[in-house]
């Protein structure tokens, strides 16, 4: 058996030819040529709302030839927060994570700046409100793209009939569908009188004073309406001020007109209160109304979502935005940015808002007048003023403007509601303030 030997010259020539062929060959794009991308999105509690996000992601993935893995992570039992903590510790996990309110700031060092996509988005969709900037930016660096999914205002949701009958307030007239609010007289004094009247009539306002988000958010907005801050933007303690004292006095008066068990309320209590038809008002996004639409239609058709009452220092409403952030350890940052840009196009945002039944709120000013809020009902127009279309109130978050890492502690330790409860239960004003000051001092540790 003869065996032909390959000469050195032949070997060099063959290698050179095959290398040249490989280099000059046309690039054939495979099914997932642009790599993989994984996302941890918030699991929406409106049934079917996730499907809009899934469709948008798949549509983008097919176009960009990216293999995507989409996980919906619930906030029940704070599973999303635990996952964020675990991924931050492991420096491994999803490429994109949908983070609630304070989490972009608390993980700022581990997030990829997204200024390059935020600038064109702001030009396209309009500016964002101050709370989005406060929570989403650190040292001029955007820590995430504001997500419409999950973002919400926790303003008043009133019973039209009960407010008219017992408090003499026509909430539809005050906040008419399709036109600007006529709510100059809707102040904290009017609100307190209405609370008293509804309490006397057996339909007290359902405002909690527990330690969960809904309770803290309402207290935050009321404190801000008085100009009260526990820690200012520079990180100075400002607990012992007249504004804080006025807020506590207001809450003491209000608490007398609330259900006796509000100190034990969680985020579900106010929803149940409204759906059961027990009260004339709660502070909540339209999820309670949506449940009522399903379980108690006679209640739902009497619900009207509107603006917060104004205090001496302005009209503030609690606003809780979500952000889509990219971990700095992501292996496909460019694809992640491309997807976030796709999800933030006006058409994509509208699709997601419609799928959530108007629950989700875009952060951008040009997108607060979508048709869905005009049309949805019953009663028609019930959510018209939900997205704050006339910038009638300042969207804020409790404990702001304290530096976010301090404010997060004030928020989650529910310092504001605890102060109100302590003072209401008979503790002296100065003792309550001293306690809060001690707590805030502790939150300042670095």
């Amino acid at each position: 058996m003869s065996r032909k030997k390959l000469s050195r010259r032949e070997f060099v020539a063959a290698t050179a030819l095959s290398s040249a062929a490989l280099i000059t060959a046309p690039y054939v794009r495979g099914a997932y040529a642009a790599g993989k991308l994984s996302m941890g999105f918030w699991d929406h509690w409106v049934p079917g709302a996730n499907s809009a996000s899934t469709e948008l992601v798949n549509e983008w993935a097919a176009k960009e030839k990216v293999e995507v893995q989409l996980d919906y992570i619930t906030s029940q039992g704070n599973k999303n927060l635990v996952t964020i903590a675990a991924e931050a510790q492991a420096k491994s996990g999803h490429d994109i994570f949908q983070m609630p309110t304070w989490w972009p700031q608390s993980n700022a060092e581990l997030l990829e700046p997204v200024n390059d996509i935020m600038e064109p988005l702001l030009k396209l969709n309009g500016d964002v409100n101050g709370t989005v900037k406060y929570l989403g930016q650190a040292d001029g660096k955007w820590l995430g793209v504001p997500a419409s999914v999950g973002s919400q205002i926790k303003g008043p949701c009133s019973r039209i009939d009960l407010m008219k009958k017992h408090a003499g307030i026509d909430v539809q007239e005050m906040y008419p569908a399709g036109s600007p609010p006529k709510a100059d007289h809707w102040t904290l004094d009017t609100f307190l009188k209405a609370a008293e009247a509804c309490h006397k009539a057996g339909f007290p306002f359902g405002i909690g004073l527990g330690e969960t988000s809904d309770n803290v958010d309402t207290a935050g907005a009321i404190f801000q309406s008085f100009g009260a801050q526990l820690v200012d933007a520079k990180g100075n303690l400002t607990v012992k001020t007249d504004a804080v004292r006025q807020s506590l006095d207001f809450y003491k008066k209000l608490l007398a007109f609330l259900p006796p068990d509000v100190s034990a309320w969680d985020d579900a209590s106010n929803n149940k209160w409204l759906v059961a038809g027990k009260g004339a008002m709660i502070m909540n996004p339209p999820s309670a109304w949506a449940v009522a639409k399903r379980d108690a239609p006679q209640v739902a058709e009497q619900c009207w979502t509107h603006g917060f009452p104004a205090g001496p220092k302005g009209r503030f409403a609690p606003y809780l935005p979500f952000f889509w952030s990219i971990w700095s350890f992501s292996k496909n940052k460019e694809a992640a940015k491309s997807l976030l840009s796709h999800l933030s196009q006006p058409a994509s945002i509208e699709k997601m808002v419609v799928a959530s039944g108007g629950y989700d709120l875009p952060a951008y000013e040009k997108l607060t007048t979508l048709k869905v809020w005009e049309e949805i009902g019953p009663p028609k127009g019930t959510l018209y003023h939900y997205p704050n279309p006339y910038k009638h109130q300042t969207l804020s978050i409790a404990a702001s403007p304290a530096p976010p890492k301090i404010a997060q502690q004030i928020y989650f330790q529910a310092t504001l509601t605890k102060m109100c409860l302590r003072y209401y239960q008979g503790e002296s004003m100065e003792k309550t303030l001293a306690w809060a000051e001690g707590e805030c001092e502790g939150f300042m540790r670095s």
């Binding site: 527990g210 006796p260 068990d261 509000v262 209160w273 997060q408 330790q413 529910a414």
Partner: protein
């Protein structure tokens, strides 16, 4: 030369043979086989228990931003916090009172079940174990509905007798009572089954001898049953104390630590500070604070058991 080479081969073969015999002997040794059989579990514990424990120790020594080693600085900070001492106090109240009531109820019910005729005992044992076999997160949800601030089924029932409404989770004292009650409800069956097993192992002759000596019911319990059950009572108490101190789900679901932090225990406050407040090092320090307390309890209880074992 050949001889030398041959001899060296023979030496090597003998060495290999000795090694084989050594390995065989080692494998034949019971302790070695036992070690090899438990090795997978040891590895599993090392990965899932020892590593996280060491990691949490490491976390507890970092500053809030997790960029700097602060030694015991986090503990120093905690010792100055009013809320921390409230949590320490509440954890002790919660764990000690819950364990005492679980032990007491378990002991009484075990006696009842022990006196039930043998053919009916299985049914009773099964029924009484139900609270313990339901996942606590699920059963606590049912308790939450029973204690619901606005729609409590208990308050509804009590209203027929003109009592209440009781602020089960809205008042500090009632909230503490509620979380302890649920913990006792959940944990008492464990004590019951352990005590029942211990009761069954007490030799009947001892009771007969006591009866001949004229011992009454109480004397039989005090001088026969309790001394015979001492070890199992000690072990069960220690085990339950550890589990109850580290409890999370019952308090988290029922009160989330409220009102005014009056039901927070170590685990729930560690979660609040570490996960919700994004201060993981401080959260780790709070949860690690349990270790010395439990270690002291374990040393005393186990030393007592060893002492009795030696006496026997």
């Amino acid at each position: 030369m050949v001889d030398v080479a041959f001899q060296s081969n023979r030496a090597a073969a003998a060495q290999t043979g000795r090694r084989r015999v050594g390995l065989r002997n080692a494998l034949r040794r019971k302790s070695m086989s036992a070690f090899l059989m438990t090795l997978p579990l040891i590895l599993l514990i090392a990965v899932l228990v020892i590593y996280p424990a060491l990691y949490s120790l490491h976390l507890a020594t970092l500053n809030k931003a997790m960029t700097k080693f602060v030694g015991l600085g986090n503990f120093e900070f905690l010792f100055k916090r009013e809320t921390f001492w409230l949590v320490v106090k509440q954890s002790c109240i919660f764990a000690i009172s819950a364990v005492v009531f679980k032990a007491l109820i378990g002991f009484i019910v075990a006696h009842f079940v022990h006196n039930v005729p043998a053919n009916k005992q299985r049914k009773w044992r099964g029924m009484l174990l139900v609270p313990w076999v339901i996942p606590p997160a699920m059963s606590t949800l049912a308790w939450l509905w029973l204690f619901d601030p606005s729609y409590s089924a208990f308050n509804y029932t009590l209203s027929f007798f003109g009592i209440g409404p009781i602020p089960w989770t809205g008042d500090a004292m009632w909230a503490r009572f509620s979380v302890i009650l649920v913990n006792v409800w959940y944990g008492a069956p464990f004590f019951m089954i352990m005590y029942l097993a211990a009761l069954k192992s007490v030799p009947e002759q001892l009771y007969e001898a006591a009866a001949i000596d004229g011992a009454n019911w109480w004397q039989r319990i005090w001088y026969v049953t309790l001394p015979m059950m001492r070890n199992i009572i000690a072990i069960t108490t220690l085990f339950s104390l550890i589990v109850t101190f580290a409890n999370f789900d019952i308090v988290r679901i029922l009160t989330a630590g409220g009102p005014l932090d009056h039901t927070h225990i170590f685990a729930t406050w560690a979660f609040r500070v570490g996960i919700e407040g994004s201060d993981i090092p401080l959260g780790a320090s709070v949860s690690l604070f349990m270790v010395p307390i439990l270690a002291i309890a374990a040393i005393f209880i186990l030393r007592d058991i060893t002492k009795r074992g030696n006496e026997a």
